[in-house]
Amino acid sequence: MTRAAAVALALVAATPAAAQTANAALAYTQLPDADQERRARALMETLRCIVCQGQSIADSDADMAGEMRAVVRQRIAAGQTPRQIRDWMIARYGRYISYDPPLDAATIPLWIAPLLLLLAGIWLARGSFRRR
């Protein structure tokens, strides 16, 4: 933890004066409260990086992903729930940004298709076993 803080400090010291604020550090520095950091981390893993689209913002090293991590940590530290932050992101970038599809009219086929296929499979298997 102290090493991470030292690295973060060194990074901050190396950036130009204009970029030197607490916000920049939050992209790469954990929140002091372990419980808040755990919630922030869980949320970051389910938000898509919009620059490198196959990755989550927790995995990506893109600048934009760093800024998004900072936004997540800042808002968690300010007492917002992960749900509120996810909704804020979806209001800006659409549902594509979230890796966690909610259950609603648009996603219902996604959730029930496996069940339907399983039922169809059971029905087919039952038919062929009976014939034997």
């Binding site: 204009a18 970029a19 620059v51 800024e67 970038y93 659409g94």
Partner: protein, 177 residues
């Protein structure tokens, strides 16, 4: 048994459907553009400090003065921004008011960029941490938003503005009046 004959073809039909879906996905050109979900909504509230010498900063209130404006998200370090500069100058010459948000930039770099590529901007706000960019649902530079006179975002152009995009943007501005 004869009425069950057709069932024999069912797996082949299902396979055909899968092939059709996969082929459609392969042949359709992939569009990975992330568009803002803020189109049709009011600009988020923001106030950004000035960055260019002798040019005011930018706030969301500047877009509620009755006249449609362009909001260009750019950066001096962005190569496609150089490519779209002549088109922005064309739009400015056509009387279009253009404001800008500079992403992760410094006054010196912005000064050099404007000196080299022309200066179509009425105001430039400095967004060092992309906070306003994120609030706008913008996923990169350059991007251009058409904002009507009440501060509602009516259109978004992702990527550099090419010469053949200019008429469409002028039309969106005319429709926003």
């Amino acid at each position: 048994m004869t009425n069950r004959r057709w069932l024999m073809w069912l797996p082949l039909c299902a396979f055909g459907v899968v092939v059709a879906v996969v082929a459609w996905g392969l042949w359709r050109p992939a569009d990975r553009t992330v568009r803002s979900a803020m189109v049709g909504k009011p600009l988020p509230d923001f106030t950004l400090a000035p960055i260019a010498p002798g040019k005011p900063g930018l706030s969301s209130a500047d877009f509620r003065r009755g006249q449609p404006r362009l909001l260009n998200v750019f950066a001096s370090w962005c190569v496609p921004c150089i490519a779209e500069a002549p088109q922005l100058m064309t739009l400015k010459a056509a009387g279009v008011p253009i404001d800008a948000i500079a992403i992760k930039d410094t006054p010196q770099d912005i000064g050099n960029f404007l000196h080299r590529n022309g200066d179509p901007y009425a105001r430039i706000g400095s967004d060092v941490h992309s906070r306003v960019q994120l609030a706008l649902g913008s996923s990169g530079v350059p991007e251009t938003f058409v904002v009507d006179g009440r501060g509602i975002i009516v259109a978004q152009h992702v990527g550099d503005i090419r010469a053949d995009d200019v008429p469409g943007i002028l039309r969106a501005l005319a429709d926003a009046k």
